[in-house]
Amino acid sequence: MHGANTEKLRIMSRTENLRSVRNFVAAKARQFGFSEDEVQNIILAVDEACTNIIKHGYNGNPDKFIDIMIDASSNVFEVRIYDTGRTFDPSAVKPPAVQKNMQRHERGGYGLFLMKNLMDEVEFVFKPDVPNELRLRKYLSK
């Protein structure tokens, strides 16, 4: 999927840049032929991914990079997000328990759950000495 038609966006790890990420992804997803509902789902998933990287991966450090690449071909729309922050074990993240979260005044923990529910495939690739990679895929239904 890493073809010559890859669309790229590089941002600094700051929440003020989330809007540019959403605009970038929305334009490509619309162009690819997704419905407006699907476009909204994709941009929320990507927003959640970048927010997690900014807050947890980079622990709020505003001077790091996040690279977003989009490849769209045949019926698959793939967003790849690269960072060099802290990794985590996605299988250890539990689905949100809203009652418990309320009692604990817990405000987070929904990002990964949303990504998995809004996209068709979510895949983390963590390897030593190379940037972390997150692949978010959505298929265009005909």
């Binding site: 009652q99 817990e106 405000r107 990002g111 949303l114």
Partner: protein
């Protein structure tokens, strides 16, 4: 450029919080400050009108979660109205309708606030 705004109005003892624009990790602190101010002023009956809310991510949803318990411990509530289908779907996906009362419009939510106040009075009487 302001991509997110919070406006407040008072109706009887209910504070109506109108949200406008894009609520994400960048703008969530604006909402957080509004809720902190409300609680400082002991205003616990809060109706969030989502009519002009274009977008919400989990960072925005987290703000409501952070304050809900304290609001309810003070016999108040955070209720919602005028939610678009798009915003409701996100609430629904996370199971929030179990936790929050969501009304079609402001009037319906206000009536419900007043009803629960009346039933509290009856309980105390």
């Amino acid at each position: 450029m302001n991509e997110f705004k919070v406006r407040q109005r008072q109706k009887e003892n209910i504070t109506i919080v109108e949200l406008q624009g894009y609520l994400d990790a960048h703008t969530a602190p604006i909402l957080e400050q509004s809720f902190e101010d409300l609680l400082k002023e002991h205003r616990y009956n809060i109706l969030v009108n989502c009519k002009n809310l274009e977008y919400i991510s989990s960072a925005g949803l987290g703000v409501f979660m952070a304050f809900l318990d304290e609001v309810r411990k003070n016999n108040g509530d955070i209720k919602f109205s005028n939610m678009s289908v798009k915003i409701f779907n996100i609430f629904d996906l996370l199971g929030f309708p179990v936790l929050y009362e969501i009304y079609k419009d402001e009037q319906e939510a206000i009536v419900n606030f007043l009803d629960s106040r009346d039933s509290d009075k009856k309980k105390k009487a």
